[in-house]
Amino acid sequence: MTPQDTMERRPDRAAVAIAVFLIGLGILLIWDGSRIPSKAGYSGVGAGDVPRLIGAVLVFLGLATGVQGWRNPGPRRPRQQPVPLLWLLGGMIVMVASIHSVGFVIGSTILFTCAAAAFGERRFVRAILSGIGLGLFIYLVFDVLLQLNLPAGPIEMLIFGR
């Protein structure tokens, strides 16, 4: 698949994908709303009815999005760079997955370094060092001083003893 190919066909595909997503979300809401036993009380509108209404509107909006995307494909979107996206998303996911075992300082260092890399930073040693510095500073201010309970790991145990 060459870039040109995807550029030519992307708008339609995107609109169809969004339409499918919206219709799927709408059906999910309708299904979940119907699952709730109807105890509408005086109002005639129970706990399941508003989700069903929103679901129906979402299905309609999905259909409208699909039809509009079919009739007049949107403008070309700017080319997206996959590498920075992967850096940033990857850093986020690694941080989220590991934060409870490695603690706040290392977790935020991972996130900081990957985010910097996503924006073109290639001096990794400097990035990692400043990530650690920033993490320690935030932990000191927010956990130790402002008593926000940040996840602690080996580094926090070593330095702050908690």
Partner: protein, 505 residues
């Protein structure tokens, strides 16, 4: 007591040393986030919500309002010197302001933006103080159906009335409303859309959604555009002051900007960006120097900057008196009120007058602080623009995740951060607005409750919704706000298409 007495009492609260400190922190942070691209007042308030959990309620709210005002001031700096608006309400300022800076008139542009913001902020805050008690009286006759109609109007104006596509705005809004359904139904206690995940029972946190969509989504989007040298920062030549002629041309624009901005902010009619846009259009039509427009006309900076500050103050009218947020920042401030167990609305003026009037009065104080921060100290803020992009976004993301990590670092919450962040990126990519999602998430459950209450009172008779004149008018306005722009767009699209065709010849 009349408004004056309340306001004086509020000033006494606002001048307490701790409150002054909170206001100073708020306006400083606000200016900083206004100056920095990629981070706005809505995100900043969302970040600070968890941190302020244990702090004083009045102080925290004063700080949030300071951030909102400060963001409006700071945004102009980036627009003028960098041609990249620091936040959305300053997009218009870039048109003329950056041209002025290129012509070596950056100093007067920054000065008219700051002084105009000050004049507008001051007048609009006073208007807020005098208007609020009247709206409160009006709000006392509001029942569930009037509130429901008001929320429908807010939904429409936030999502569909402005922007380039009603369909995309409505999609954003209904995604927000769908997310709002997650959790326990507040009237019956039924579990909805939780799928057996206990962490979902409390619903989706506004802060998680806002942080993910605004910070992570924005960072992903900017990163995906690839390395961008960007236009360099223009140095301020000369001093940050205006000539007599600049003053003469600015003051009317400030007042007109205020007159346009405040009503737009205070009616649920869209936020500060609409106000600044309308003010720019007005100045272009009224100017005596039409030849300068597009090349750096000072009115084109003075008017919109005054308008966006006036609109920010105006937004506080429905927020404080009705509990109705009309912008993303106001929506998150509402979450801030709720965090302290306060529900903005007519009752708040009766039950916590000190807090409300302290907040309003501290806005006057914040305005004075902001003038000082943004005129003599402007060169300091420009240094912020020299932070390299990788470090800036690295720092933003670390701070952005801080709130979620500190309050609720459950795997479900952290996964939502990533999922909503990706969604925020995709929505930016496909031109879907973000603010309606946030407003839908906050207002959705409230609108649902009011609807079901109204229908309970009428025993299931849906015509009750239009039987009160106020509710009927509000719903009618909502319908007009939905349909008229659609017609205008359908017509305007033809024109735009023909223009594109002409340009390609």
């Amino acid at each position: 007591m009349d408004t004056f007495a309340f306001l004086l009492q509020g000033l006494a609260t606002a001048f307490e040393p701790m409150m002054l400190l909170y206001a100073l922190i708020g306006v400083t942070l606000g200016t900083a986030v206004g100056v920095l691209p990629g981070i706005g007042p809505a995100l900043t308030v969302a970040l600070l919500l968890p941190v302020t959990y244990g702090l004083d309620a009045a102080g925290s709210l004063i700080m949030f309002a300071g951030i909102y005002y400060g963001g409006m001031y700071g945004g102009s700096t980036t627009s003028i010197l960098l041609n990249t608006p620091g936040e959305s309400a300053s997009v218009i300022t870039a048109l003329e302001g950056n041209k002025m800076a290129r012509a070596g008139r950056g100093g007067p542009a920054l000065a008219t933006a700051a002084i105009g913001s000050f004049v507008a902020g001051l007048i609009a805050t006073l208007m807020l103080a005098f208007l609020a008690p009247h709206v409160v009286k009006l709000a006392l006759v509001f029942g569930p159906r009037e509130y429901f109609a008001l929320m429908v109007l807010a939904f429409v104006t936030v999502s569909a009335a402005f922007g380039e596509s009603a369909l995309r705005g409505l999609v954003s809004l209904f995604i927000g409303l769908a997310l709002a359904m997650v959790g326990i139904d507040q009237l019956t206690g039924q579990t909805r859309l939780a799928f057996g995940v206990p962490q979902l029972l409390d619903g989706i946190e506004v802060t998680t959604l806002a942080v993910a969509m605004f910070a992570l989504g924005e960072a992903l989007f900017v990163a995906a555009q690839g390395p961008d040298g960007g236009p360099g920062i223009l140095a301020i030549k000369g001093r940050v002051r205006m000539t007599v002629q600049d003053w003469a041309r600015s003051w009317k624009a400030w007042l007109r900007g205020t007159a346009i901005g405040f009503p737009i902010g205070s009616m649920p009619a869209g936020g500060a960006d609409i106000a600044s846009f309308l003010s720019y259009a007005a100045e272009r039509n009224l100017t005596k120097h039409p030849e300068e427009f597009g090349k750096g006309a000072i009115e084109g900076v003075a008017g919109p900057e005054a308008a966006n500050n006036a609109a920010a103050a105006g937004t506080l009218v429905p927020l404080l008196t009705l509990g109705l947020p009309t912008t993303a920042t106001a929506a998150i401030m509402l979450a801030g009120f709720q965090q302290f167990g306060l529900q903005p609305g007519p009752l708040l003026f009766a039950s916590a007058p000190q807090l409300v009037w302290g907040l309003i009065a501290s806005l006057l104080v914040a305005n004075v602080m902001l003038l000082v921060l943004n005129l003599p100290l402007i060169r300091f803020w420009i240094l912020l623009l020299r932070i390299p992009q990788p470090w800036l976004y690295g720092g933003i993301l670390v701070f952005a995740t801080l709130g979620t990590l500190g309050v609720n670092p459950s795997p479900v919450e952290l996964a939502m951060l990533v999922i909503f962040g990706t969604m925020g990126y995709l929505m930016r990519l496909f031109n879907y607005p973000i603010a309606p999602v946030v407003v839908g998430l906050i207002l959705g459950p409230m609108a649902e409750q009011q609807l079901r209450r109204a229908l309970s009172i009428s025993q299931g008779d849906w015509t009750t919704l239009v039987q009160s004149p106020i509710a009927a008018v509000l719903l009618l306005l909502a319908a007009v706000a939905l349909i008229v722009p659609m017609i205008l767009r359908a017509r305007g699209r033809g024109d735009a298409l023909s223009q594109i065709g002409a340009a390609e010849d």
